[in-house]
Symmetry: C2
Subunit: 282 residues, 2 copies
């Protein structure tokens, strides 16, 4: 997905939010805003939002020397999600369609995103996403793909959301490889976040060799790129993975909540929609 003009103010807001979360002084915050506006002014308009966000968060890291500003937020999100885990498992067991329930749970967990907003309401989101109609519903295609494939490449998004992913992974019969970031970026899941969520008990965890948001191939390791190219079935979580992979030709199912109106418009749905979208391969 290209960067829309509406992304510019949002990326500037995100820079300020990251600067503050990193403990930047007022002067540093101002410098970060100036540097962000410079980046936004010179970056090619064909860039995806995660490419821009990556540059911006790199600026924040360099100026504040804080490499993991969202560490505490990530730990809290994981603990909050783990406390919900037994209840989520019960919901799947009791569901008339356990796979659909597990998919809904995984999508609900995508609300744990500190790039889009500074806070979120997990309980309210869970209630909503477990019952509302999907805005885009390719569940039948996902069900069929899961039945035909013995392995799934599962590209993670945020820490805490990892626990919700675990519930879905436990509903998948085939083997799952769970892809995390190689280093901290916003509240995206890294290896330790995945382990803290218990993903190591249900999947093989690998990293993509990159600490950029989403999946920016130019930043990823050769090993991950090969893995991606060979995968027969990919589940990609969250907005940044949609933004960076929506133009690729790969057998992807995007699971996300359309938290911002730009993505919602790109998907042709209302903001806030629950999305299970199969990538259209030309």
């Amino acid at each position: 997905m290209k960067t829309y003009l509406d992304c510019y103010p949002c990326l500037l807001r995100q820079a300020l939010s990251a600067a503050r979360c990193s403990g930047a002084s007022d002067n540093q915050q101002h410098s970060i805003l100036l540097k962000t506006m410079k980046e936004l002014s010179v970056f090619p308009t064909s860039s995806t939002p995660p490419q821009l966000a990556y540059r911006i968060h790199q600026c924040v890291q360099q100026l504040t020397s804080n490499l993991d500003p969202y560490r505490d937020d990530k730990d809290q999100a994981t603990q909050q999600a783990l406390a919900l885990y037994p209840e989520l498992k019960k919901k799947v067991s009791a569901a008339s369609d356990p796979l659909e329930m597990a998919v809904r749970i995984a999508i609900a967990g995508n609300i744990i995103d500190l790039g889009v907003a500074d806070s979120y309401d997990l309980d309210a989101t869970l209630k909503r996403v477990l019952t509302e109609d999907f805005a885009i519903n390719d569940l039948a295609a996902l069900r069929s793909a899961l039945a035909q494939n013995l392995s799934v490449l599962y590209i993670a998004d945020n820490a805490g959301e990892t626990v919700f992913d675990r519930v879905l992974i436990e509903s998948i019969v085939g083997s799952v490889t769970y892809v995390v970031k190689s280093g901290p970026i916003i509240n995206d899941a890294t290896y330790e976040d995945a382990v803290a969520a218990g993903i190591d008990q249900v999947a093989t965890i690998i990293d993509n060799g990159s600490n950029a948001p989403g999946t920016l191939f130019e930043q990823c390791s050769e090993a991950f790129r090969q893995r991606f190219a060979q995968a027969d079935l990919i589940i990609a979580k969250g907005q940044a993975n949609y933004e960076s992979l929506s133009d690729s030709s790969a057998p992807i199912f995007f699971l996300l909540q359309a938290k911002c109106n730009v993505i919602a418009r790109d998907l042709g749905i209302a903001q806030g929609g629950t999305v299970l979208k199969r990538q259209e391969i030309n």
Copy 2:
């Protein structure tokens, strides 16, 4: 009030919104964003938000050659408000404290602001503001000042809000001079907007010689500046007038809704608060 760092993303959003409202092409919208970021980068940090907004809207006007993009919105807002006028008058007549009710009505009308957001809910705002506690309540001081002064300088904000101002003006015993902009800027009231609201029947209408948002003295006419300097009692409506006059030493009562969190923080109240604030004169 100084420009806070949170104003930067908001001003960028406002530039894009104004560009679209002006019928700018995608390329023009992009140019306007680039120009806005340049302005935001070089403007002194001591500038007030209306000073920056003025420059930005000038850029939009120059690039699109649309001098009055909010014309239709302004006319609609005035018509919508005029339809409510009889009901508003009845509320004042029936109130145990007619002045308080008229003040609340004037503040409720301040929701009609297309700088802060692209839309507003007038009915819901009216219901809320007519009953909720003031976040800042200097009504007793205003009542006393109105009793002591024979004339009031009333600095207007937006078209449509003008009708709500009229209700308050009709509750004031002294003579009122109503100050509008000399030319269009966002949805701020000009002479014709004031007349459309019937203000000419209840007050003397003058303009401040400027088409900047708020009250930027450096842009205003000498005649207005003198008038302001000599006034014994001033009512100033809305956020932009607060932003541009909050550091002045004048006998002002600010009537506004704290629609954005930056102003709310500056005032020390929660966002959305109903404000009747007497200027503290040192």
